[in-house]
Amino acid sequence: MLSGLGALVRKDLLRQVRDVKSLVIYLGVPLLLTFIMGISFGGGVFGGSGISAIPMALAGGDLPGGMRDQLTQGLQETGLFTVTWTDSTEAARLVAEGEVRAALILPDELMSRFFQGDDVVFKLWKDPNSQVKAGIVEAIMTGILGQFQAKEAAYRSLWPDDELGEFGELEEPLEEIFSGDPVRAVRALRTDDGALREELLLRFERGASFGQSMQEPALVLDLHDRQDWAAEDDTRPSRNLYDYFLPAFAVFFMMWGTVAIIRDLHRERENRTLARILTGPVNVATVALGKWVTAVIMASTQLMVLLIAGGLLFGVRVGDAPVALLLVAVATAGAAASVYLILGLVVSTEKAMDALTTVFTLVFGMLGGNFFPIDLMPPALHAVGRITFNYWGNRAFSEIITHGKGLFDVVDELLVLSTIATLGLIVAVAIFAVRQRRGVAA
């Protein structure tokens, strides 16, 4: 049954290897895209990874110089912000024109309003085109204020009579503390008849007691981050983004490469080569198997060459489980070859196949996680992604390269891919046989 298979595979391989331009595209483009993705998100040789410091403006308020400097220094030392002090008109312009991502506008008479117990409303103006960075600013500010709000509410619920701003003749000297002259307030306390001093001491004592109780939480929230437990499970947790991008693009371009090989079936039919081949000692099963074997050899070689190149160029860690990597490459290539063989055989012309496989490859590329890590997708799309063969290939590569797993950890993925490859090949041969019976195979 398989007589002539070797010759068919040799012929197809020779034809593929001689097409240097296609080889350059299928190998060069994924490397280029990986490079772009890597420097965009991974830092690499061009700088640090992660989101760069967020430019923000601060405006308004009547903070004493020292507090203003401390606030600026505190924000900048987090490494998250670059701070510019300005007035509110200029801050609005900076935000509206996208020169800063957000502006925090402090209310007028901030300190006296705060200590008199009046409402203190900070305004945060956000750049409409900065969903990510302006969102980070809002989240941080909300988090800081949230803690304060809860504690202030708790204090006022314990001692409702301790309202702020009820210091009578001490009020004016107390305000001086916040404008940089604490001496006057201390002198005023010394000359006070004692009642206010008592009141102040009472509040200091309650404040100290309250502060102590807040240091001993009544409830503990134990956070379990998936990234941490994944790192604990990993023999070699990876944070090199090239580790994700390179296998993802390699699989995606392997899909295009496989389409090009299977497409030959239509070219051979249209220029009657297939008819001549079938007059020899081969049947349609051998022809289909020949295309499948060629596609598997070329596609798995393409994957391995790309991964090795990625290891050399971008430091993608491919060296720990070479056997597992090779088996996954072959299984992914086998599944791809079977799926595209079916797609190639259900249509009758090369053009129709191009149209069908283009849509198929792009949609499967998206759903299977070749453009976007599948973990980030909404649950419904995540579930849909599992029906794509490339999802299982991507997942197996991720386990080996990103998480440092070995052959036994990707057995499930290998089984799924092998099943798709085997069943797909059987279906493809059956379709080809039906086409031959109907006289449309060649």
Binding site: E97, N129, V132, E152, L221, H224, V359
Partner: protein, 408 residues
Amino acid sequence: MRLNPGLIWTIMRLRLKRVMADRANLIWLVAMPLVFSFIMGELMGNWSSGSSPQFTFIVYGAANGGEQLAEILAPLEDHEDFALVVRDTTASRASIRALLEESRVSGALLVGDGFADSLAAGLTPTVDFFHDSERGSSQRIRGAFEPVFAAAAVRISAQQLVDPAAAADDPGKATAFDVARYDSLVAAPRVRLDAEVLGRSREANLLLTDSRQHSGPSYTLMFILMFLLMGAKDLVQEQKQRTLDRLRLSWASTGDLVLGFFLSGMIVGAFQAVLLLGMNAAIFGIDYGPSPACLVLVMLLFVAVSSAAGLLLGTLSRSGGQADGLGMVLGLGLPALGGLWWPLEIVPPFMQSIGRALPTGQAITIFHDMIGRGWGIAESAPMLLGLTAWLVVLLALAVVFFRRAVNP
């Protein structure tokens, strides 16, 4: 140089006929951009909030939590970003981890045995919160849950200072804790943050808050560029088949040929732009801002730049395969670098500079400014000038190389 409008029109008509005759082109012209806009919009999720919850925050062991837990969770019911699912039954940590790993939930809370009793006894119970710091949906759940948990923890800690007997002698003790006052003060704090987006009306949902407001224009631009770059192969084919030489030998000048190919690319690109922008507006409700003039201008310039790039690529390529390969490299590389695949604000500053210097980055920046800031031609002038500069340079190079190609 005298131009022959009749010949230019003929070249344009022929190319249009060729494009329209091939139904497979419809995939690249219309179907794929819309599929990409839809799926990538779904994948990126809504950058703001307000859509129906697609994500689940599950609580296990609610029966252990008693009233205290119910109070903690109450503010999270009917949350706009996620659905809160409360189960009285408990679950193992391993099974909760698996739920997160399989993306079946985006956050989970495990309340252990004796939570309520420990709390009543003045002990410090611990609850386990499972999340994934690299998932946006998980971050939102954590962002919503942590403040309400912290507020509850503060309240419980404060309540431990209540000791009516000791309060008379110990100023650090209180006679009571006014829960209603606490809740009202937390709900309406006197020190607060009012966040506001300085742009177009948020209520009207016209801001760049829905990821499709990015993905719709992005994939329109990307597929116009890609289609016109891939069309370079046709020019190479005509050179190979000596069609251009025959035209030159008869009555066509280089100017006629360049204009014919350039304008035919523009018509194909403009057709694609109208179709895609219109369908994106109709299907996904994308709004392009208050300045139709700016929209028309940016699209005309971008289509012209893409057509000139396709023309230049066609004159520089020696074979159809080479044009295809370079077309694919540029068709994928320029959108990736220019911020069509993701917002430029999340890449390092030097990559932002590169992106904004490219026509793809300039065009999408104009779109973002139209949609988010409501800008028009005057405000977008620097970026429009940038696109014009690209057009002049690419067209000039295309003319020079075209002339060399047809007059060797």
